[in-house]
């Protein structure tokens, strides 16, 4: 502390429960990390063949080790030993997207780095340089992860269309189909509301007057962007739930109630 600051012994005078929200969010993130780690290393129960459900965790399945029927885009990757996730590309793409997301950065800097846990509550660290150095300077790559995530979102759309297959051929809708489409909507909202997306569609411009169309896009994304944090959290839960549901159906723990065929 600077010598000229007011000498106040107490670290904070905040008496509200400032630790509650970072604790809650921290536990949610921890749960997500543990769940996804288990799921990615499971290398099983990701494709419900009869219902045509592929979990977003393993989409696209592009390794020669993928179970028959689950590879909708060929298998450019060779067979992968069992201790490596076959969905490693998805793991890196989607995981990197969430890890470098401005909202999640805020969340884990507060909950795990304690920098700061809550506003006007001192952080425990002696020195601090933020995102100026390696490794955190890598956060600046977020927009590339956004491009990748946008591609994955399109692939998820393709999967969701496949999930409209009936179990006896033709068109069909099961509870899983509804869940998959719900999740797709949330993933789309999360991806479109991304700050990098907002920048790319029009935010980077210095002259809106000259670019009326991109200005319209920017206005639209800006509206979604104010809810980016909410979409980030909701889509976290929908994606886990969707994966869990498909795992349960694929592993025959549960049979998918069919609404139509």
């Amino acid at each position: 502390m600077g010598p000229a600051r007011a000498k106040v012994a107490e670290r904070t005078f905040r008496r509200d429960r400032w630790w509650l929200s970072p604790l809650g969010i921290g536990l949610i993130l921890l749960f997500f990390v543990v769940y996804s780690t288990i799921r990615y290393f499971m290398n099983d129960h990701y494709w419900a063949a009869e219902e045509h459900y592929l979990t977003p965790f393993y989409s696209p399945c592009i390794s020669a080790s993928c179970v028959p029927g689950s590879s909708h885009f060929g298998t450019p990757l060779p067979e992968i030993p069992a201790f490596i996730p076959i969905a490693i590309v998805t793991l890196i793409g989607v995981g990197g997207f969430r890890a470098t997301c401005y909202y999640y950065r805020k969340a884990y800097y507060r909950s795990f780095f304690l920098s700061p846990t809550a506003c006007a509550v001192p952080e425990p660290r002696g020195s601090y340089k933020g995102e100026t150095r390696f490794p955190l300077i890598v956060q600046n790559s977020h927009r590339y992860f956004f491009y990748v995530a946008a591609l994955f979102a399109l692939i998820n759309l393709y999967d969701a269309i496949l999930a409209l297959h009936g179990v006896n051929g033709g068109v069909g809708v099961g509870l899983g189909t509804v869940i998959i489409w719900g999740n797709l909507a949330m993933l789309a909202a999360y991806t479109l509301s991304c700050h990098a997306c907002r920048h790319v569609v029009g935010g980077r411009l210095r002259n809106f007057g000259k670019h009326p169309v991109r200005y319209r896009f920017w206005t639209l994304v800006s509206k979604l962007n104010t809810r980016h944090g909410q979409f980030a959290m909701i889509s976290l839960f929908t994606v886990i739930f969707t994966d869990f549901y498909i795992m349960a159906v694929a592993a025959d723990w549960f049979s998918d109630p069919r609404i139509v065929n």
Binding site: M1, G2, P3, A4, R5, A6, K7, V8, T12, F13, R14, R15, Y102, R105, K106, Y109, R110, F113, S115, P116, C119, A120, V121, P122, E123, R125, S127, Y128, K129, G130, E131, T132, L136, I137, N140, S141, R143, H195, A196, R198, H199, G203, R204, R206, N207, F208, G209, K210, Y215, N225, T226
Partner: protein
């Protein structure tokens, strides 16, 4: 209905200080600044406090109430339980002058380091023109009343005095962003924002946004867009190449 408010107010100067307990009669509808004024008028005539407008518009009465950076004139006593003791302390991040008054000159130094708006030559009729959409874009940032609560709250300097020389703070990131989005400006301050102003030290934890009495979305609308602009200039090879080949940006780097 009035009641007796129990308060603790930090009294002291650069050398020493302590929380002094007081009991102040207050009336319904009053704010913390009213209580401080009554305290000054009736019990502690030498209490130093800075204020001007009592309307949340001059940015003078910044302090910390129960540990939260606030404008005293906009902090209603009804937000607290009548039995609760309210603690009022000066802003922690800046040097104290006396009692609740801080020396905020750090902020004026940072303002001076920021190269001013530099418009290009006017149109042939002597006027400068920009579209309404571009005018509106910067309006939010101009609501700033320079209360410096965001600067005070930002952990980069609040918890690390040694970062002050290298960090301009959220209030000035607003200004960097506003100028970088201005269609008529000819200065490119993106390198400066990252290097001299320390934009990279901000970890977008949003405390500045949380305390801003003008509800400016500092992090979402200024800092993050500015970080993305810095990426365009420094970290994104494709955009950098594009701007070199197509000569998209004719501004002068400052």
């Amino acid at each position: 209905m009035g009641y007796d408010l129990s308060m603790r107010v930090w009294r002291g100067d650069v050398d020493s200080g302590e929380l002094a307990p007081y009991t102040v009669p207050v009336e319904e509808g009053e704010v913390v600044l009213d209580a401080v004024h009554r305290l000054q008028a009736t019990q502690a005539p030498d209490l130093a406090v800075r204020w001007n407008c009592k309307a949340g518009k001059c940015g003078s009465c910044s302090a910390e109430v129960n540990g939260r950076p606030r404008l005293m004139c906009m902090t209603r006593l009804t937000d607290y339980d009548p039995d609760e003791t309210i603690t009022v302390t000066p802003m922690r991040t800046f040097p104290v002058v006396k009692d609740l008054v801080c020396d905020v000159s750090y902020n004026y130094e940072k303002a001076r380091e920021l190269p001013a708006f530099a418009p290009g030559p006017p149109d042939p009729d002597g006027k400068r023109r920009m579209m309404q959409a571009d005018v509106e874009r910067g309006q939010e940032f101009r609501k700033c009343i320079e209360c410096f609560l965001c600067q005070n709250t930002c952990h980069v300097i609040r918890d690390h005095e040694e970062n002050k020389p290298a960090f301009a703070g959220p209030r000035f990131f607003l200004r960097y962003a506003e100028l970088d989005m201005h269609p008529l400006d000819t200065n490119d301050r993106r390198q400066l924002a990252q290097e001299a102003a320390g934009l990279g030290m901000c970890n977008i934890t949003k405390c500045c946004t949380e305390v801003c009495p003008e509800n400016i979305k500092i992090t979402d609308n200024a800092i993050i867009p500015m970080k993305e602009r810095v990426v365009d200039r420094r970290y994104d090879p494709l955009v950098w190449l594009g701007s070199k080949i197509f000569r998209r940006d004719e501004r002068t780097e400052v």
